[in-house]
């Protein structure tokens, strides 16, 4: 377990303060915040790589705030991977093991096993400079995990990857975490990433934690405008997926069955972008596969655009222009139809 108590860190321009977090053993914990919020510095402070002004860091019931980074049992993966360019992939992964003076045979065995886990056995002899972004990320992950850290810190690990690789790495991160069950703190500015991976999420704003909770809690009870801005931009549901017609999946999200295009079955989490939902007064005749009637329960004005909440239940947040709002004569309590394509549903 990791406990962070009243942590205070100076960032030059401003301070992170009053950071309190309790992270459970084996948990995948996300720290979500905009760029420049001090996420990386917070990770480095936890790792002992950045000076802490006040507060305490506890790992497994032991206070480690002032402990040197090499004694803490923490693994870190940076966005730019920070692989050692003068060492081979194997040399990179072996680095921590050699420092621990493991016998040669054991080092070889551990590297082979870890390379298998993250799927890079074919890359061991290569130089890191010749690898793609996704491959480098796996090497960095293997290097951090092979020393069996108590805590794994991930600093925007998917930030520098192209969208396709990003999605694949997301799946692999979840898979690796499921297998090794290492307590993980992952910082990101991407809410979808947080939802896809995080058991719980903490939102960092203005130098302190604005809210901690599960991704669903963020949707139902955002504690502030700032958190809402992060969360309101997405519809996120948990449901059960089963086979539907034409290779589509039917996902029951509690009363409503959505048609979605996905291979996943069983318990799934999904998101739907507010701008992908059409609102109308009559049911739309279209190729869109999902069409439901509900009641307008909230209208949030954001200037030229408006967030309209339509409750079936559950709540769907839709993004429309101010002009559309006026033309549709939407008000609280009015019944309306929402329509969206099966392909608009993104299953994590």
């Amino acid at each position: 377990m990791i406990a962070i108590k009243k942590l205070k860190v100076n960032l030059g321009g401003f301070t992170l303060q009053d950071i309190n977090l309790d992270i459970k053993p084996g948990e995948y914990f996300i720290i979500l915040g905009p760029t420049g919020a001090g996420k990386t510095v917070l990770l480095e402070a936890i790792a002992g790589l950045y000076p802490v002004l006040e507060g305490e860091v506890w790992i497994n019931g032991r206070e480690v705030t002032k402990l040197n980074p090499e004694k803490k049992g923490i693994g870190i993966v940076y966005q730019d991977q920070a692989l050692f360019p003068h060492l081979s992939v194997e040399g990179n992964i072996a680095f921590g093991l050699r420092l621990r003076k493991y016998p040669k045979q054991e080092i070889k065995a551990k590297i082979a096993a870890m390379a298998e886990t993250v799927g890079i056995p074919h890359l061991l002899k290569r130089s890191p400079v010749t690898l793609s972004g996704g491959e480098r990320q796996k090497v960095a992950l293997a290097r951090a995990l092979v020393t069996e850290p108590k805590v794994l810190l991930l600093d925007e690990p998917l930030g520098a990857l192209d969208p396709e690789t990003r999605e694949r790495m997301q799946r692999e991160l979840r898979e690796v975490h499921r297998r090794l069950k290492v307590t993980t703190i992952h910082v990101t500015h991407d809410f979808e990433e947080a939802v896809a991976l995080g058991h719980r999420v903490a939102v960092l704003n203005d130098g302190s934690i604005a809210q901690v909770g599960t991704p669903e809690e963020f949707l139902r009870q955002p504690s502030s405008e700032f958190v809402a801005r992060f969360a309101l931009s997405r519809n996120i549901f948990t449901g059960r997926a089963e086979d539907g017609e034409n290779g589509c999946a039917l996902i029951d999200i509690g009363g409503v069955r959505l048609r979605a295009i996905t291979e996943s079955r069983g318990e799934v989490r999904l998101s739907l972008r507010p701008e992908d939902i059409l609102i109308s007064q009559e049911p739309l005749q279209s190729t869109a596969r999902n069409c439901f009637q509900g009641m307008v329960t909230d209208i949030a004005d954001r200037g030229s655009v408006v967030y309209v909440t339509v409750t079936l239940p559950p709540d769907f947040v839709c993004l429309i222009t101010r002009q559309a709002l006026d033309e549709l004569e939407l008000r609280k309590g009015v019944r309306a139809w929402i329509t969206f394509k099966a392909s608009a549903i993104h299953v994590f």
């Binding site: 040197n68 730019d80 920070a82 360019p85 420092l99 290097r143």
Partner: protein, 269 residues
Amino acid sequence: MGIWRKPDSMSIVFVVLGTLMLLFIFVPLIKTIFSSSPGTLWNTLLGEDVYSSILLTICAALMATLLGLLLGVPLAYLLARRQFRGKRFLEAIIDVPIVIPHSAAGVALLFVFGSNFLCGKVFHGIGIDFFRTFAGIVIAMMFVSVPFLIDSAKEGFKAVDVRLEKVARTLGASPWSAFFRISLPLAWRSIFAGSVLMWARGLSEFGAIVIIAYSASFFGWNTKVLPVLVADRFDFGLEYAGPVAALAILISLIAFIVLRTIAYRGEKA
């Protein structure tokens, strides 16, 4: 091949001026080297005062460079990694030996290391004197040439991403271990290039040395560094100074070629 265009007047003027500049650098060097026949050069090289001088110069410059590595590399690392008040001022001080007259630098060194002064007395206590000795030549060379090493090493360390060191720490490396396994190997090329530059600059030092150690005893010879020997020979005329000057230029040139080769290899990697 590009399409031939009529060169504009500016290009023509710049190429002509540039050529004059290059000739000004090249011709004296080439002419000095070729003014003496290979036979004359060989015979000069065999003269005891010449080869003892070459050995003295090379060894003293090497010693200065080694001392520079020991004391200068840690300083370079601190300057590359730490932010502190007055850092700019410190960096300026390090480059001062390059801009002051070197004879003045020699005088300044004697004010500290001369046998009448505290530092000189301390070293005298452990058997090291500086006036007219090998050690004096070494500190004179070091004083005027170590800025090249410090600056080059500093740039080398700056180019190493500090996150590499941080990752190394989390993987179990102590600060020493992170330095020797990560920072030093990655900055090594810059440090080496700086060392060659320092060594070559040390070889060619005249002003500071002529004040501190016009001549020194070295392995039983009483000899002088090459630049001083060249000046000495000039008292008897250009034809006496010529062959020694040619040798001095050749030795420096070889050192310089080594430096360029290393720098070029770094570019390709």
